[in-house]
Symmetry: C2
Subunit: 227 residues, 2 copies
DNA sequence: TCCGAGCCCCTAACAGTGTTAGGTGCCGTT
DNA sequence: AACGGCACCTAACACTGTTAGGGGCTCGGA
């Protein structure tokens, strides 16, 4: 049984090939279904052989983490800082949303790989050019990262649940609203009254809302003529 | 062998007792070391018996999730909306930081338990009182949740690493700065130049920075006289 | 008083997990 | 021709979540 069509192109079993194989397994079976044995099979090898190239499963996940960051496209370098930063966050979110369980893999993983480093470099460069101080730029980068990772982490779990249970996102949101409405009104007056507000707006507009608030807050850091 | 000093106080094996046991195992062995067998042992029972009270490990984690949210103390209901909201986020962060792997457990877990519902209720109430519209209040709650969860998730992983490797946080940050400085300056000019800015400020000030930016952005939603 | 029902726990096992020890063939160098 | 190390292998270990089936225990009804 041919294990992998890459074998012709990439006969050597490198760490990069391992990362790509892990990426395919992740896409197929999700993070919970990603095992050393499956990744090994994907490259046509038995599990123990992976430990020649990689110390741990943890190290393989680090590789996978960087592979996940491979093709995040940076926004065009046109327009003011606000549209560029917005573009960055939107594309980053879309990228994570597009790969299965990406947020869970990325979440809380230190040791940024080369791909992420390039992204940071580019982002910091634009922040400096926009007029943010070095100290502020570093903080802003951290802030934006925390927001979009946190957001995607929360929105991607229901996506996975919807996939496995077969229910659509609209039905899931409606069910959530129903749960809020069913709460005892004496104890949770706001949750009951705001059930629609809490579950109604789709995640795109929720993400955009938060992002615009943050950008508003960042603008106050700049001298008035550069806002 | 006595399994648990709670046995005298709480002889019945309820779901709540299970959640508390899981909490103790989490504190002792971390999320990776939390197994059904260990939780069972903690309540003086064998693993298979847990499945009488709980469908899944997933369901046990839902219970654990809510147990984790048990004693987050709300800030005093004094001062303007800004100090109250800031207090909320700071306490929430401190609470998560105080329990081992809390962020990883909470991250991306849908189905809020009763404890979290009470928190949301209280927070929404204050937002409404501050003058935010129902739609805005719902969005703001979501935004703040994403930010602090995302932030704590990123900062708690190094804490775990520091614990297991025995190195202090300061040394860890210094090592990170060193890695940035060692990068090829032609490819990563900003990362190299800003190494200190990126790793220097401690996480408390980084968290506060992002939070103040967000609060600034939220203020713009309110009519000028209520800011 | 006996009997069944349901609750709550048990043992045993299954398939699968990460990881290590030790062995084996091949390939380039000396 | 012998050697060293690279890159794989088999076999096994301890552990995981989960299920099947069984056994007491207590209760309500006949």
């Amino acid at each position: 049984m041919p294990a992998d069509e890459d074998d012709a192109v990439q006969p050597a079993l490198t760490r990069e090939a391992l990362a790509r194989a892990a990426l395919r397994v992740l896409e197929r079976d999700g993070l919970a279904g990603l095992s050393m044995r499956k990744v090994a099979a994907e490259v046509g090898v038995r599990a123990a052989s992976l430990y020649w190239h990689v110390r741990d499963k943890e190290e393989l996940l680090d590789l996978l983490n960087d592979a996940l960051m491979a093709d995040v496209e940076a926004p065009p370098r046109t327009g003011d800082w606000r549209v560029q930063l917005r573009g960055y966050c939107e594309r980053y979110r879309a990228h994570l949303l597009g790969r299965r369980d990406a947020a869970k893999v990325v979440a809380g993983r230190l040791a940024p790989g080369p791909n992420l480093l390039h992204l940071m470099e580019d982002q910091l460069d634009r922040l400096r050019e926009a007029g943010f101080s070095a100290a502020d730029a570093a903080m802003v980068s951290y802030l934006l990262g925390a927001y979009v990772q946190g957001f995607v982490l929360q929105e991607q779990s229901p996506m996975a649940a919807a996939e496995t249970t077969g229910t659509g996102r609209r039905e899931l949101a409606d069910a959530a609203a129903e749960r809020f409405r069913a709460l005892p009104a004496a104890e949770f007056p706001n949750l009951v009254a705001m059930a629609d507000d809490l579950t109604g707006p789709d995640l795109d507009t929720r993400f955009a809302f938060g992002l615009e608030r943050i950008l508003d807050g960042l603008a106050a850091l700049l001298p008035p003529e550069r806002r």
